[in-house]
């Protein structure tokens, strides 16, 4: 295989990894503050993408430049999903704090189903895949078989930027400190005067906003969104978070890229079986859980085995 084709695959893998990482970071954030798995995360991502599409449809009449339009629909999706994430935490996750962990899992699974079904049934023609507008510049630099597309480069840079921003926020602001404090020891954090509920809500808001960002990115990358896309991304994102070790942001990012790498290698190594791409991906999820259920970067206290 020549270098150009290889570079193309690497680029695809990186894009995929960026999306997985954004989802995985959300899972890790939620698990950090509340020790819960929010299974509706992938579907929040999907709703985010549809919110962006709805904003686009609403603004299509105005003659906005593509950049302004992109910014507007991104803002709409991020804000809407941030609020949705907070609402989910307040209404469904926090009330079940004292219940068995399985109940939280079930309620968020069902919530994800409800979101998915709601989009399928109530979004105009929501059952069909929807074309997503291509708002990024289409220019590309050709290098042999490899062409570096501007839109991919921009998306990748934006993804990195958002993760760096999150990291800076967590490390250098008072609110970020509060979130880390709650993640480390909820009770002590409470006694230090941290408003626990508020921290949880904000964390869920941030995580869901990241999911919306990943959703828009997904739409721009594939130029198509559908109501079922969240399930797959959610499961893969969750697996990536586990592989990296839940609770660690770097671990989640590592897991996301590792997963994308495996998937890309799988597609390259057995090209005739590209139809089995998803089978391979989920097979890898199961395999990783078998071999290393605690993740690559260990949590400080691991209770799951």
């Amino acid at each position: 295989m020549d270098a150009g084709l290889l570079a193309q695959h690497v680029m695809n893998g990186l894009m995929l990894g960026m999306m997985y990482s954004l989802v995985a970071v959300g899972f890790t954030l939620f698990f950090g503050v509340l020790d819960v798995i929010k299974f509706s995360h992938g579907d929040v991502l999907m709703v985010g993408a549809f919110a962006a599409l709805a904003a686009y449809t609403a603004l299509a009449g105005q003659a906005l430049s593509p950049w302004l339009m992109l910014l507007a629909i991104l803002a709409a999706a991020v804000v809407a999903m941030g609020l949705l994430g907070m609402a989910i935490a307040q209404a469904f996750v926090l009330p079940l704090r004292t219940a068995p962990a399985l109940n939280t899992l079930l309620i968020t699974l069902m919530l994800g189903t409800a979101l998915r079904e709601a989009v399928r049934l109530f979004y105009p023609q929501g059952a069909n895949p929807k074309p997503f507008p291509a708002l990024l510049p289409k220019a590309s630099i050709d290098m042999g078989q490899f062409n570096l597309r501007a839109d991919n480069a921009i998306m990748f840079a934006a993804g990195i930027l958002s993760i760096v921003a999150l990291q800076l926020f967590l490390k250098h602001t008072k609110l970020g400190l509060a979130i880390r404090a709650v993640a480390q020891d909820e009770e002590t954090a409470r006694t230090m005067g941290i408003n626990f509920t508020m921290v949880v809500l904000i964390t869920f808001g941030i995580g869901s906003a990241l999911a919306a960002f990943a959703g828009v990115m997904n739409g721009l990358y594939y130029n198509e969104i559908n109501f079922g896309m969240g399930l797959l991304l959610g499961v893969i994102g969750f697996s990536a978070a586990i592989v990296g070790g839940l609770g660690s942001i770097y671990g989640a990012i590592l897991g996301g890229f590792l997963f994308a790498a495996l998937q890309t290698i799988g597609a390259v190594a057995v090209p005739f079986a590209s139809a089995y791409k998803d089978v391979f991906a989920f097979g890898v999820v199961i395999l990783i859980m078998t071999i290393k259920p605690t993740g690559l970067i260990r949590e400080k206290i691991s209770e799951r085995v």
Binding site: A101, L106, M110, L111, T113, A118, F282, M289, R304
Partner: protein
């Protein structure tokens, strides 16, 4: 002894309720105007709520509990009666068959989820494995069809065995993800696999047992009976088998082991219960029951296709369990009846059923986490 006898609840309230419920189910199944059905459903819900308000449910429950064996037989009789009334109606009998097969699958999940606490979000996949096994074997081999049904269950259990290592090594959320991943993997696998028919699925011929073809209508004297009656009897037999198994399992020392490891794994292993072994037993046994049901369902429907065994269907099975009360075998059957019959009879909500169940389960989890019919406290002695 005499005093014990005196305290024993009378059989009458339970029998009366069973008779009313049977008549009600016949009325619902027989009604075909949407308005009539709506009124019937409304009336049924109102009666249950009122009975609850006036405290009538307790004596009825006691009556059921005191005469369990009698009511098991009466329930079978009631099912036969319902089938007898609708002996000529293909659609109603098919609905009843679907109901019973789903109930068998829900009972399989009850062993896993309700007793041993092993999560399984791939119920529909194991159902599908049973169905695909029966499809492949009836088309490509000359095995007797009853043996094929048995093999359907065995294959589902074997497929479950592949998942055992990750499930035994993980717990809670993590085991859940393993089964979710398996559900998605199975669906996408049968969709792209050409040997298994891809998205179109496979067709299979009708069932034959000892030279008796299940797809012929039956004439007994001057009665014409729908060919689904054969499948009905087969499914009923399967349901009785599954229910008897689950009930006996719960009462036995195995059930005690299951309960112990569900409630506290560490404590259970301290008392010498092999956690991994019993988890494996529960998981495989449950999948086998689900596989049996799936194999029969494939033969009843005459075709199998990927779209019948999706993750959403698995979630419906889990919803059945939650609505009925996790671990309550009767609850699972009642909830199955609700989940299967309501959308079939109320065409308007057919399209919205996944959403409806999801919302119902969310409400149950928020306000009545034990389910609508919570599992009763274990009875150590037959009263």
């Amino acid at each position: 002894m005499a005093r014990e006898q005196g305290k024993r609840a009378s059989i009458l309230p339970g029998a009366a309720v069973l008779a009313v419920v049977t008549a009600y189910v016949i009325a619902i199944l027989g009604a075909d105007k949407q308005n009539t059905i709506l009124i019937l459903f409304g009336a049924g819900a109102a009666v249950v709520v009122l009975a609850g308000l006036f405290g009538l449910l307790k004596p009825i429950g006691r009556s059921f509990a005191a005469h369990e064996t009698a009511f098991n037989w009466l329930a079978i009789l009631a099912m036969l009666l319902i089938a007898g009334v609708f002996r000529e109606e293909h659609f109603v009998l098919l609905l009843l068959v679907t109901l019973m097969l789903y109930a068998v699958a829900a009972l399989g999940l009850t062993i896993q989820f309700g007793y041993a606490g092993v999560v399984n979000f791939a119920g529909a996949s194991f159902f599908g494995i049973g169905a695909y096994t029966s499809a492949v074997l009836t088309v490509h081999t000359a095995l007797p069809h009853l043996a094929i049904i048995f093999l359907g269950g065995v294959t589902a259990a074997l497929a479950g065995a592949i998942l055992l290592p990750p499930i035994l090594r993980t717990s809670g959320h993590y085991a859940a993800v393993v089964t979710i991943a398996f559900a998605l993997l199975f669906r996408s696998f049968i969709e792209v696999n050409d040997v298994l028919g891809g998205p179109q699925g496979l067709h299979l011929p009708g069932m034959q047992v000892f030279g008796w073809s299940f797809n012929d209508n039956i004439t007994v004297g001057r009665w014409d009976i729908s060919f689904y009656m054969s499948y009905f009897l087969l499914s009923l037999a399967l349901l009785i088998f599954a229910f008897g198994l689950v009930q006996r399992l719960e009462r036995s020392w195995i059930g005690l082991n299951f309960d112990a490891l569900r409630l506290d794994e560490t404590a259970a292993s301290c008392f010498g219960i092999g956690v991994a072994r019993w988890k494996a037993v529960a998981f495989l046994l449950g999948n086998m029951l689900i596989g049996f049901a799936g194999a029969v369902s494939g033969m009843v429907a005459g075709f199998v296709a990927p779209s019948n065994y999706t993750f959403a269907d698995s979630l419906i099975l889990v919803s059945i369990l939650l609505l009925g009360g996790i671990g309550n075998a009767w609850g699972a059957i009642v909830a199955t009846a609700f989940v299967v019959i309501v959308p079939e009879k109320l065409q308007t909500i057919q399209e919205y059923r996944f959403l409806l169940y999801a919302v119902m389960v969310i409400l149950v989890l928020l306000f009545q986490p034990e389910g609508l019919l919570p599992r009763p406290v274990r009875r150590y002695f037959q009263s």
